[in-house]
Subunit: 240 residues, 2 copies
């Protein structure tokens, strides 16, 4: 399934079925696995041929659905993939497909509505401990633009200040030498940022449970002997 | 695949193959999907019948492997499941199966060594943002015992102090009225804890990116206007 942030909302690409079962309802684009094909290759092939989509920034396996009655025509197992497209891409899509706001889906075929829900949970989780935002963001962006992408994907407002501080501290994003063109309102041009990596990296591994580092001689160990070991925990100077 | 912490090390249950292909090598217990069976049901059935394992505290789908040549006998797709067993369970297992330290595996059949690696990564990630430890821990435990389980599963030392503070603050574990029997060394008996829930819950959702709460009138907004919104971020009183 393909997800993209469009007009500050997370969207999923759906294909309207022209024949039974579920005629007229909306389904995830896909198709049968080739005899000598891997699942990931197959997912990419179906997206390229059925919805003309080749600009996928990240593709990962989501899950395999196996309810024996999930397809009224007979036993079909389906392995769902999550494909992410940058917010500034404008893929050409066929007339029988359309982008739908993930929070306002039309009636969906098979178990596809539930699969979309799983994809959303996966994306939310990975935004918190990986750099997966690289696949949703344009190559360069202002913090305000990135905030909008995170907010759309997480489904709640996000503080631009927190986002900038945390992602820079983790080394997930970095400033470029460029600045966004000033708006009509004037004011200082906003710095443009980019993701440091364009492939998936775990950026916040188990921060909370990292072991304390050895305490240097002469220092008094506090509740977090080495606060720098957890880049989301600011240094504690005094407890209130 | 079945994981259990045994003698302070994470172990995986493997079955020694008695026939080709990969005769004599070790593989993950499993078998074919029944015609009217779901994948999860099938995984549980094979574990119950092949390795006599019924004490599974948590079972979740890991991933589906599809390399066309992963099985020399022909095209076989395999959906791997992660099954967790409590540290105090002693399942009876047949003679051709054995627990292996996950960091010291014998030669494995098919792509099973790589699947074990994926399972380990999944477990490590989920320990940081869910209560999945409930499935590895006994019903009640001291913090020292829980620390050993987390350290074995994460593969690095863990601070008992941090672990206790974070898991209690998140509501993941809670103290019971009981205490562990005093050791031969004497000293105060250690409090026994338990997990608050025995099913999987996301306990630390996207903490870093939560929106700031409205600031109360008369207070001065700091860099984290509402530190309590992120339960892993201690209150900042002053930056050094």
């Amino acid at each position: 399934m393909v997800l993209q942030v469009r007009r500050k909302r997370l969207h999923v690409l759906l294909w309207q079925r022209a024949a039974p079962p579920y005629e007229g309802m909306w389904s995830l684009p896909g198709g049968p696995l080739g005899a000598d094909e891997r699942l990931g290759t197959s997912a990419g092939r179906h997206l390229a041929t059925k919805v003309d989509l080749t600009e996928i920034a990240h593709l990962e396996q989501l899950e395999t659905r196996s309810d024996p009655v999930r397809d009224p025509r007979g036993r079909v197992l389906a392995t769902a993939y999550l494909a992410l497209v940058s917010a500034d891409a404008e893929p050409r899509i066929p007339g029988d497909t359309a982008w739908h706001d993930i929070q306002d889906l039309p009636p969906t075929a098979f178990d596809h509505g539930s699969i979309v829900g799983s994809a959303r949970e996966r994306l939310r989780a990975k935004l918190s401990y990986t750099n997966i935002g690289f696949a949703l963001a344009p190559e360069t962006f202002t913090i305000a633009q990135l905030r909008n992408i995170y907010a759309a994907s997480l489904g709640h407002p996000v503080s631009a200040t927190n986002l900038q501080r945390i992602l820079i501290r983790r080394g997930v994003i970095e400033a470029t030498a460029s600045a966004a063109r000033p708006t009509a309102l004037g004011g200082r041009p906003a710095t443009l940022y980019r993701f440091a990596a364009q492939t998936l990296v775990v950026t916040n591994p188990f921060a909370a449970f990292r072991p304390p580092s050895p305490v240097a001689p002469g220092t008094v160990p506090g509740p977090d002997p080495d606060p720098s070991a957890d880049d989301d925990q600011p240094v504690i100077v005094a407890e209130p």
